[in-house]
């Protein structure tokens, strides 16, 4: 019998750990990434002759709810057809019982890697704007991500932003109002239409208990109340205590606020109160503070609203989160209308010159 040295034994064990893709249309190319409960493999779709990513649960037998969660994740993503969300192509089960889904192979860098070089502020804010657009699309379709963090955001070679890992995403109950909101966002391509996901309207017109009932999700049986899902530093207070029935679009807004702080400063805020903006324009700091507010009601209603405020800042308009002083308003308007102002000043200068030095 052939003796197998330790190194060979380890290699063979690693081989066995690789998914057995026999019976599927995919051929294994390598491991692309590893998460808490699943691994992502680079595989070749032998029928379409293209490389794709296959996300596979580590274990389906001992924890069948994880299999359900993965399928649920795939179905949620499949419904969200947006350039900022990785499309799902297929879902299935391997001979060993493990569930997988196949998605587009994303090429790019994780946001935290991308930020190491600290690109110019305007570029970082443009990324943030795209991120808000993607989340606004999901919110309009009644889906919240619940685990937004730099590791779950990919930046492509052309600055495209992709939101990954919807494994703990939550679907909110649909109503006709939500469908209208989603339709408006769909037709607009990017959010911008005056549509509102009911987080804001609900909180405005009903109490917390009613709101909990109104948005009780239909498929969150996989997440027990009190279970904490998310990442410290990005989790909203209601998420940190596992108050599942209180989580809504504003839970994602909190994480977006933390992401904005990371983009501006390079570090994760300990809390909204503890965070001190250093060298950050005051309106931007106000956007961060509003998104990171401990009280849900004090945050932006959803990602669309936050994205709109970011756009306001980028285009020199007034930011809703910031009450500016008169001189600040004047300065902002002057900057925004710099060209027109310069023309007027030039005209006045010429007129003044003509007045004092009349042409004979």
């Amino acid at each position: 019998m052939t003796f197998l040295p330790d190194r060979t034994l380890h290699h063979l064990r690693d081989l066995l750990a690789e998914p057995d893709l026999s019976g599927t249309r995919y051929e294994l190319l390598g491991l692309a990434g590893r998460g808490g409960m699943a691994r992502v493999y680079r595989v070749l779709d032998t029928e379409l002759r293209r490389e794709v990513a296959l996300k596979l649960l580590d274990d389906a037998v001992l924890a069948p709810d994880l299999a359900e969660r993965l399928v649920r994740e795939a179905r949620i993503i499949a419904r969200l057809e947006h350039p900022g969300i990785v499309p799902v192509y297929d879902v299935g089960k391997l001979p060993d019982g493990r569930v997988y889904y196949v998605m587009k192979l994303v090429r790019g860098r994780r946001l935290d890697d991308h930020l190491r070089t600290m690109p110019p502020l305007r570029e970082r804010l443009a990324l943030m704007e795209r991120l808000c657009d993607t989340l606004a699309f999901a919110h309009a379709h009644g889906v919240i991500h619940r685990d937004l963090k730099p590791a779950n955001v990919m930046v492509g070679a052309f600055g495209e932003v992709l939101v990954l890992d919807w494994g703990v995403a939550k679907r909110l109950t649909r109503t006709a109002e939500h469908d209208d909101a989603a339709e408006a966002v769909d037709s607009a391509g990017v959010p911008g239409s005056p549509v509102t996901w009911p987080a804001a309207t609900h909180t405005a017109r009903v109490g917390a208990g009613d709101f909990a009932r109104a948005v009780t999700e239909d498929d969150d049986t996989l997440t027990d109340h009190g279970t904490v899902l998310g990442t410290p530093g990005f989790m909203a207070p209601e998420q940190a205590v596992g108050a599942i029935d209180r989580m809504d679009c504003r839970t994602d807004v909190h994480a977006l606020g933390a992401l904005l702080v990371v983009m501006l400063t390079g570090s994760v805020p300990a809390s909204a109160e503890a965070w001190r903006a250093t060298g950050v324009p005051r309106p931007l700091a106000a956007i961060c503070r509003k998104a990171l507010a401990s009280e849900q009601a004090s945050r932006y209603a959803d990602a669309r609203e936050m994205g709109a405020d970011l756009r306001n800042f980028l285009s020199g308009r007034q930011v809703s989160a910031y009450r500016e002083a008169t001189w600040e308003r004047a300065l902002r308007l002057a900057r925004r209308h710099r060209t027109a102002l310069l023309l007027v000043l030039a005209y006045l200068a010429v007129r003044a010159a003509l007045l004092f030095f009349p042409v004979r």
């Binding site: 003796f3 060979t8 064990r13 389906a60 399928v71 089960k93």
Partner: protein, 258 residues
């Protein structure tokens, strides 16, 4: 969307593991003497090396003593129908067997009856010299188990090695029967390289075999899948229950139990 998602209907869905069949442990209780003998033979084939190395390293027995003890243990187990006492509900088979072995060694040492060991019992044909050679090659002869090593670690590690070695032998036979010698060669060249040897790339193997790379990866893929099948088949044979088989398979296949 309902609260419960049915994952059974997904395409490609099969049973998580091969269908249950009787293991060698189950067959060792057969009323058919021939069947019983073959099953016991399969169990000894799988377990004697882990037992020998366990006694050598954990009990610090020298080659002679370990050889006598392991011979005595299996002869004793066969003669006294010790395997009948195994209850899959209480322990996994390999843990139970190791504890039986430990009890046997302890008793034998107390009785200090090396001369009596195996007295009157048929000696089994086991290649202890080869096992000793493996220990030497692995640098394990005469050394203490690494600090922090639990009592069963040596046995468990050698059990895995024995399992893989048996699966490899079965793979050789399977490749011969299926006329897939080329696949076996590629598997041996790429996945069974000796410690320190360079692993050839697919492109290098393709040049060696005079085949396109796609053909090489295809054949290698077949051998790997077949090896996996053989590992599971051996595992099925040497585990005491379906649950134990699943648990062991989960660990061997790299799936992390939660």
């Amino acid at each position: 969307m309902s609260g419960t998602i049915d994952t059974d209907g997904l395409h490609g869905a099969g049973g998580p593991f091969p269908p249950t069949r009787h293991s060698a442990i189950g067959r060792s209780r057969s009323l058919d003497a021939g069947e019983r003998q073959r099953a016991l033979g399969a169990l000894i084939e799988s377990y004697w090396k882990p037992a020998y190395k366990h006694v050598r390293l954990t009990w610090h027995a020298d080659h002679e003593e370990a050889q006598d003890l392991v011979q005595g243990f299996f002869a004793h187990a066969l003669a006294r129908d010790v395997l009948q006492a195994f209850d899959p509900a209480r322990a996994r088979f390999r843990t139970w067997l190791r504890l039986c072995l430990d009890g046997f060694v302890s008793n034998e040492r107390k009785a200090a009856g090396r001369q009596k060991r195996g007295g009157g019992l048929a000696l089994l044909s086991l290649d202890f010299a080869a096992a000793e050679d493996e220990l030497t090659r692995a640098g394990g002869a005469g050394v203490e188990p690494a600090a922090g090593t639990a009592p069963g670690d040596v046995f468990d590690r050698e059990w895995t090695r024995s399992l893989f070695e048996l699966a490899l032998e079965r793979l050789r036979r399977r490749c011969g029967e299926a006329g897939r010698d080329a696949s076996l060669t590629l598997f041996l060249r790429h996945d069974l390289v000796e410690d320190g040897a360079a692993v050839p790339s697919y492109a290098e193997l393709a040049v060696e075999a005079g085949q396109p790379v796609t053909q090489v990866t295809h054949q290698l893929g077949w051998a790997r899948r077949e090896f996996r099948v053989q590992v599971l088949a051996v595992l099925r044979d040497i585990t005491g229950s379906d649950e134990e088989f699943r648990d062991e398979a989960r660990q061997l296949l790299g799936i992390v139990p939660t």
